[in-house]
């Protein structure tokens, strides 16, 4: 295909809901990639969850051809990126595969915190940035003010920024022309040994692992022998191709291009995202700079609802990790839930999305334990350890003190709800840092908050207390010493490890009491009375009782018809499969989910 100088690799960065996917769809439509008629709303958000939630989770590459006003034809490779704070890692991965970034700013809302974070990421990666002002069709649009804002806040020249309405199809041509002129063509030497950056991958049942790559140097064709820098396994390339946006085979990928490689790679562990693909016969002397290793922020245990499905779960998590390198996991086991995995996520949304993907894409029913953060434990012997699983906490006698992760939270809200938000932050042990009126209708509040308060029910609370008007972002800023205790739940005197959690001393009592109350409602009555207790150390702080069942009998057999009765008993027996035993108490797996979800007051 064409000259390298006619290739433009770029991504789009934007705040959630500023119209990133819509603009991407328009670009594809205008370049003839898809006809308007065939276009499913929001083409790039191909996962069900993405469409339902209206957000982009995965980056999705697509190739387009554009005939510019100068008469030349250009190849555009667009890599869509997620906007949510939890997915910054995905963003940084796609940035490394591009030379330019379109920055979309909403013409009425202006520059948002998350936009800034991504802009800085793009600048760190030496990307050219093209500001585009979207939603100019809205009555509240104030493009000139927003232009000034971009110049003042970000320090970018926005005077030539295209004014568009992706929704209405206004200004799309300006954007296409600007892509040609603003972004540099890719560098790289076609004759040098192959160096390709793996920026994503997924598992295809027929083709094996599909690698999404950006060719930095050299070229790769079907039949070539390839290996990655970190593994010595050699594979033969079966197919190369580009994204249109579906996989479209193309013979050979050359320096500067973005595409995919299929090489019958069966073992998921051999090809990590961020690694460099090389030619096995003529390996490049050194790899490309990879990605920064991500730090998990939120942790939880994931167990199969049906204990016999452990291997299916393992398979599912491995395949998801291939597609999302930020997912971290290790095998774990719990007395109550059996074998499962302890997983680390970039944030709450990331965790939720992963849980949903396991259930939807792999048809597995899972139980997840209460989300936890990683605590720093300073032991009496001076040793410092990190604990994210309450059951791994050392005995109290060995703990000198504990520290918890703190985040800086930016909360945006109409001024009407300031009181409610401040109350909430106070309840959640927040430290007030400052308040800024962004305009008449929007206030920015800054707080330092313990992360473990945020993962509990902060998000739900802030939404319900502000009728959904407030939004917030947070970033980890460090650890602070705190009075933390391990709260245990005991059923009939036995500790249920899956329900243990690390909480602040001040909220332990309330939390324990709520848990006991919820459990009392959720645990089915047994043949005997079951005390439900919350305890700190050995001390009971709350107690409820599940009364013994008194009636569980089938009425008479009319005219000897016992089949219905038999079915009922069989169903009851079937239900036992979903039960977990805590000592002598049988608890349906769903209870663990319910309890952890209904933890709101």
């Amino acid at each position: 295909m064409g000259k390298k100088s006619n290739i433009r690799n770029f991504c789009i960065i934007a705040h959630i809901d500023h119209g990133k996917s819509t603009l991407a769809d328009r670009l594809m439509e205008r370049t003839g990639q898809v006809s308007e008629r065939d276009m499913e709303a929001q083409l790039l958000d191909s996962m069900d969850i993405e469409r339902e939630r209206g957000i982009t989770i995965k980056l999705t590459p697509v190739r387009m051809f554009y005939k510019a006003k100068n008469g030349e034809e250009y190849e555009f490779n667009l890599i869509d990126t997620p906007g949510h704070v939890d997915f910054t890692y995905e963003v940084s991965r796609s940035l490394a595969a591009c030379e330019g970034a379109i920055l979309i700013v909403d013409a009425s809302q202006g520059v948002e915190a998350q936009t800034l974070a991504n802009v800085y990421l793009a600048l760190e990666n030496n990307l050219e940035i093209l500001p585009v002002i979207n939603k100019i069709d809205l009555p509240s649009a104030r493009p000139d003010e927003v232009k000034t804002e971009i110049e003042e806040v970000i320090g970018l020249d926005a005077s030539a920024a295209p004014l568009v309405s992706a929704k209405e199809g206004i200004g799309i041509d300006d954007v296409l022309e600007a892509i040609v002129s603003a972004f540099p063509p890719p560098q790289g030497d076609e004759r040098a040994p192959l160096k390709a950056l793996i920026f994503d991958s997924y598992y295809d049942n027929y083709k094996g692992v599909i690698l999404f790559v950006r060719i930095k140097d050299g070229c790769v064709r079907a039949g070539d022998k390839i290996k990655t820098f970190r593994s010595d396994k050699v594979y033969e390339v079966v197919e190369t191709g580009v994204f249109s946006p579906n996989l479209q085979p193309k013979n050979g990928l050359f320096a500067g291009e973005v595409g995919y490689i299929a090489a019958s790679i069966k073992s998921i562990q051999d090809v990590a995202v961020g690694d460099t693909v090389m030619n096995a016969d003529n390996p490049a002397p050194e790899p490309l700079p990879g990605y920064k290793k991500v730090q998990s922020v939120v942790f939880c245990g994931i167990y199969p609802l049906d204990g016999s499905k452990f291997n299916d779960l393992k398979d599912a998590i491995l395949k998801l990790q291939l597609n999302d390198a930020s997912l971290i996991f290790e095998p774990d086991s719990s007395v109550a839930l059996g074998f499962g995995f302890r997983c680390g996520f970039l944030g709450l949304l990331h965790m939720e999305i992963m849980q949903e993907r396991i259930e939807r894409e792999f048809g597995l029913e899972i139980i997840t334990t209460a989300p936890s953060v990683s605590y720093k434990v300073i032991k009496t012997d001076g040793e410092e350890i990190f604990v994210d699983n309450p059951s791994h906490l050392p005995p109290v006698s060995e703990i000198e003190h504990m520290e918890e992760p703190i985040v800086k939270a930016d909360i945006y809200s109409p001024p009407d709800y300031l009181g409610q938000i401040m109350d909430l932050c106070r309840e959640k042990r927040g430290t007030f840092l400052g308040m800024t009126y962004l305009d008449k209708s929007r206030v920015q509040l800054e707080y330092n908050l313990p992360l473990n308060e945020i993962i509990f029910d902060f998000f739900d609370q802030i939404k319900s207390r502000t009728r959904g008007y407030a939004s917030f972002d947070y970033e980890l800023i460090g650890y602070e010493r705190s009075k933390l205790v391990k709260l245990d739940i005991m059923l009939n005197g036995e500790v249920c490890d899956a329900l243990s959690m690390i909480v602040h001393e001040d909220s332990a009592y309330t939390r324990g009491r709520t848990l006991c109350e919820n459990l009392k409602e959720a645990i089915p009555r047994q043949l005997f009375e079951v005390p439900v207790q919350a305890a700190i150390g050995g001390k009971i702080i709350a107690r409820e009782t599940v009364k013994a069942v008194r009636k569980d009998v089938l009425a008479k057999c009319y005219g000897g018809d016992i089949t219905r009765k038999k079915k009922l008993l069989e169903k009851q027996k079937e239900g036992k499969k979903r039960m977990r035993s805590i000592g002598s108490v049988e608890v349906p797996s769903e209870v663990f989910m319910q309890i952890l979800k209904t933890n709101k007051d």
């Binding site: 069942v549 008194r550 009998v553 089938l554 005219g559 089949t563 038999k566 008993l569 027996k573």
Partner: protein, 372 residues
């Protein structure tokens, strides 16, 4: 042991809890229906030639609502087509509002020797609530006609506004009127019945209250000399319903009429619930079976356990060993261990302790295997 069941699907009016095949508006079809039942018996007769039947049970609906001559013909047909034992127990269900001296005397003349009367409650307002056509006075008149005969009374627990005192009173009435057998059933509100609305609106006593009332009822029955022989059945010495015992022992039984169930040589069958379809089948000389299932060895064992644990006697270990060729206490050691607090193992029997019969499902499921 083997039994015959005949279903008479007619009623004067439908009770609010009634969920079975009964048609209050189709009494005019009684004659044709009974003719079909006789014919169904004739059709079934050849294959059951060698079997001796110990019981005949005429249930419903309300068998006493149809002309007594059809009942007499029914008993005659049963005797003609099947080998009925000399001392066979022949029971008919009756509604106290539909009996007369003449009826009862004809019943007796044709061989009926046991009567089951639907008292349900001795409180008139409660009877009215559930749509019964009789009141206490009718019951007492009926019981007077049955004086000295072998009869049973049904009592229901869990009715709207029912108190422990009401239940005790109903039991007293049944016992003092001469019933030698009392069936005490906890009402189960089924979706689609009028009483289900009461249930949804929380107007019926909840499970705990029912359990409490039931326990009080059991206590009173025992004080009056009744012995519990199954979770819901009580009787004076030797007055068990042999027909029902046969169900719980997994004996053979053959059912005739709409919705009747059979279990012969481990094949379970159910007739159609649809009256018209039943007519069509029988009149064209076809059986009216809509469901038929052969119970395999594991299924038989499972049924045996689940039914035997309903009874106060429990599982007869020797019988179990001879039927299934294994030692119950060894094969089910794990379940026995798990349910040890609720089970009694004594001289050759394994049974659920009396005080846990009312929560037996939770115990029985420990003895069932998971399928699939």
């Amino acid at each position: 042991m083997a039994g015959i069941y005949v279903h008479i699907p007619f009623c004067k009016s439908k009770c609010t809890y009634c969920d079975f095949a009964s048609y209050p508006d189709k009494l005019c079809f009684a004659e044709s229906y009974m003719a079909c039942v006789y014919r169904e018996m004739a059709m079934r007769s050849p294959e059951l030639e060698g079997m001796t039947f110990d019981t005949l049970y005429i249930g419903g609906g309300t068998p006493s609502v149809i002309d007594e001559k059809y009942i007499a013909m029914l008993v005659a047909a049963a005797k003609k087509h099947f080998k009925l034992a000399e001392n066979a127990e022949i029971t008919i269900e009756m509604n106290p509002g539909t009996v007369s001296a003449g009826k009862i005397s004809l019943y007796e003349k044709c061989g009926i020797n046991r009567f089951s009367v639907g008292l349900q409650s001795a409180i008139d307002s409660q009877l009215e609530n559930i749509g019964r056509i009789h009141n206490l006075k009718d019951y007492l008149a009926c019981a007077k006609l049955l004086k000295g005969k072998n009869f049973s009374a049904d009592i229901m627990i869990g009715l709207k506004n029912q108190s422990i005192a009401d239940i005790e009173y109903s039991i007293e009435v049944a016992a003092s009127s001469g019933a030698s057998h009392i069936s005490m059933y906890a009402l189960s509100p089924e979706d689609g019945t009028p009483i289900y609305t009461d249930y949804l609106n929380g107007e019926l006593p909840d499970g705990d209250t029912v359990a409490e009332m039931y326990a009080a009822g059991v206590k009173r029955l025992c004080a009056l000399g009744f012995e519990r022989y199954e979770v819901s059945n009580f009787c004076k010495k030797g007055k068990q319903s042999r027909h029902n015992l046969n169900y719980w022992k997994r004996g053979n039984y053959i059912g005739f009429g709409v919705a009747a169930s059979s279990c012969v040589n481990n094949v379970r069958m159910t007739n159609t619930f649809d009256l018209d379809e039943y007519f069509k089948c029988i009149l064209s000389n076809h059986f009216a079976v809509v469901n038929s299932e052969e119970v395999d060895k594991d299924g038989q064992e499972e049924e045996y356990i689940m039914l035997a644990l309903r009874t106060s006697a429990g599982i007869d270990l020797a019988e179990f060993a001879s039927l299934f060729g294994s030692d119950f206490t060894k094969k089910y050691a794990e379940a026995l261990q798990k349910t040890r607090g609720y089970i009694e193992v004594t001289d050759g029997f394994v049974k659920i302790k009396d005080e846990f019969l009312f929560v037996q499902n939770s115990i029985i499921v420990e003895y069932l295997r998971l399928r699939g």
